[in-house]
Amino acid sequence: MDASVKEKSSHDDHSHHEEAFIWKYVFSIDHKVIGIQYGVTALLFLFFGFTLMMLMRWQLAYPGEAIPVISGLFSETTMPDGIMLPEFYNSLGAMHGTIMVFLAVVPLVVGAFGNYLVPLQVGAIDMAFPKLNMASYWVYFVGGIVMLVGFWMPGGAANSGWTSYPPLSNIATTGQTVWLLGMVFLITSSLLGSMNIIVTIVQLRAEGLTWMKLPFFTWAQLVTSFLLLLAFPPLEAAGVLQLMDRLTGSSFFMPSGLVVSGEVLDIAGGGSPLLWQHLFWFLAHPEVYVLILPALGIIAEVIANNTRKPLWGYKSMVYATIFLGFISFTVWAHHMFLTGMGTAINAFFQTTTMIISIPSVIILTALMISLWGGSIRFNSAMLFACAFLPMFGIGGLTGLPLGLTASDIHLHDTYYVIGHFHYVVAPGTIFAIFAGIYYWYPKVTGRAMNEMLGKIHFWLSLIFINGIFFPMFIQGLAGVSRRLYDGGASYAHAQDYLYLNEFMSISAWLLALAQIPFIINFFISWKSGQKAGDNHWDATTLEWSATTSPPLGHGNFEVVPTVYRGPYEYSVPGKDKDFTPQNEA
């Protein structure tokens, strides 16, 4: 608190009063405040994205039936008399995906956790470019608002899937234009943020903090930022091209001779719908690793701390992460196996897909083996981290039959795919986010969250989230396609598996109820949680050992730390305490 006053006054001779609210909390250039801004905004979007899905799950469980209680909240063009229209269902689907990926999960793992923790873990007084950092948040915020505005457009929000495949997206209602504009903002925000993280890690590490002494979380953030920086520009270009197709009558993604509803479309033609898919997935596959790597980083920190021993195979984890980053640029077309590929190109992409499974297996195995020999404290953070391992394992393993083209033929675009990537991102990454929140909450607020509420939150979430996603594998194997407004009720081959829809929907609503203890805990603990010390978990990394909870306003450290040892020196033989901080000489 004092430091912020001091710093401000040193810059500005005329004033000695505290920073105004607006500069301190709204247009802050302090990475910690920006991290919290990202975190709170993205958690709200996470909840909103979840709400959209809960509406969809009503329609899937009870197709064509009026939604009870809340039907009055919706307009005639979305849910007349409480009955969802297919257009609205498609909007909800597209926006659920978009919001969860681009407005909730990535901003949480990179914008919130990355922003808050990277400078602290590397011993820097702030990000390399604090003003860019502020710009990154506000551009993200505007992008989010633009996305939401889509819901009020004629025809509703974007409704061509989060993947926005043309020609469907090109001929879609105005919501799609708004979606593309929103994406341009979100991509710009990501580029600003990722450059900042890269430069901070490369340039601002504390004295003695060599590469192999970096916490794994920071390594994961570094590789993630490279993925964002290199993979997003193609999608930004593609987004602009699609905007031009929609607004200026160009035909980058429109072939000649299109006939829509019996009428020949009056367009230039000559474009290629597959070009969009290549540009989109060139981003969106690395994006998958943007969702996963920081989550693995969080899990690594929580596991090392709560097993009270070093990570097993830290170096192989780092090398695997770097390798994974490179290979993630060569697998994108495995999302396009059924677009008419020949054997050669197909063999290439399924080979790279199998190769990328190897570093993933190495990282997951190392985390699992790290548990062996530990003295494990099962607090809420550790419970989520422990559950992450098998859940992420299911997500990874179910990628195998999708990555091999011959078995993908039947499973492609079915609920099997939905189950697969949700296991990776929901009980995978989102569980990691919860682990991270429980773990770093005392650092951010100076108070710990309630363990009892945390454990209730954990066990209920674990049960219900599996209730949602596991049955999807059964439906997928049976051949039920994804993105069906009636959940498959029209199809004979889906009839035997429709009962699962109700089961999954009820699980989803119960999962929402299971978040109540978390929400209560989150707010109550802020003011009246148990007071936490500076190093609440007896941890070794700099954010815990070298600064207060919460860290100083501007500047983070009273004394900028020097680093003498690796990140996870727990239970070192011969030492009297079971942790040796990185900055302990």
């Binding site: 297919p86 021993k309 548990l371 083209t405 078995s407 993105r483």
Partner: protein, 266 residues
């Protein structure tokens, strides 16, 4: 082993000549997944039980000292390589990429043109040649959904249907798939066929029905790619027929065409 696990995998019936091979790969992969999950799961459960703080009050700095896991990782990689090189790549080359000539013996060529939200089926007729088509000739009200040029001599015996695909059993069906408007995906679950229908391009696919199955040959065509608000009801039907039934149906269609042609002349 692959057969054993397939009984628990909820796959629909397989009535195609190639589906068995695809399913067998699906079976092997799921067996590998099951073994890995159970193996890792057992280690994991043992670990979290054994190394609970209460049972093990002080942690071991080194932890696991062997490198068994490296051998395990290599084994997984080798198995994946076998599945890839031994099964998946050759299967793709044979099942998907090995497309017969349209004019080859025992091949029945059929054009399928997807649109929002229907499947238009275009048969070449007895001459085995498709008539010319053009987008500007599409006329939904006059029964010309695929835009056949009636002046082309090859078009005289061409038959079109909407949402009803009839295929003879034990013949290679060569589907030439495209779309008029947006991307759709042609999915026949019991035939283990799925292929995107992409406007502006025509991609071939093949399958051979070997049995009528439990539902006397009557099954559904599903759309597997989001194609708009009617995606969920873009359902077609197909009928697996004996050669005699198929010939009889095609004969009827030719009679109808002749009758319609005489009407036009009148």
């Amino acid at each position: 082993m692959s057969e054993w696990i397939l009984q628990y995998l909820y796959l629909p019936q397989d009535l195609s000549s190639h589906g068995h091979e695809l399913d067998s790969l699906t079976g092997w992969v799921h067996l590998l997944m099951l073994i890995l999950f159970v193996g890792w799961g057992a280690f994991y459960l043992l670990t979290v039980f054994k190394f609970n703080k209460k049972r093990n009050p002080s942690a071991d700095y080194k932890g696991v000292k062997t490198h068994v896991s490296s051998y395990l990782e290599i084994t997984v990689a080798v198995i994946e390589a076998v599945l890839l090189v031994g099964f998946s790549i050759p299967l793709w080359a044979d099942v998907v990429d090995n497309i017969p000539e349209e004019t080859a013996k025992d091949v029945v060529p059929i054009r399928i043109i997807a649109e929002q939200f229907a499947w238009n089926i275009h048969y070449a007729g007895p001459d085995g040649k498709f008539g010319r088509t053009a987008p500007e000739l599409v006329d939904l009200s006059n029964g010309n959904p695929v835009g056949i040029d009636k002046n082309d001599p090859n078009a005289a015996d061409d038959v079109t249907t909407v949402n009803q695909l009839n295929v003879p059993m034990n013949k290679q069906i060569l589907v030439k798939l495209t779309s008029k408007d947006v991307i759709h995906s042609f999915f026949l679950p019991v035939m283990r066929v799925k292929q995107d229908a992409i406007p502006g391009s025509e991609f071939p696919l093949k399958f051979t029905a070997v049995s009528k199955g439990d539902n006397d040959g009557k099954y559904e065509i599903a759309c597997a790619q989001l194609c708009g608000l009617g995606h969920y009801r873009m359902r077609g039907y197909y009928n697996i027929m004996t050669q005699e039934e198929f010939d009889a149906w095609m004969g009827e269609q030719q009679e109808l065409l002749k009758a319609a042609g005489e009407d036009d002349g009148w």
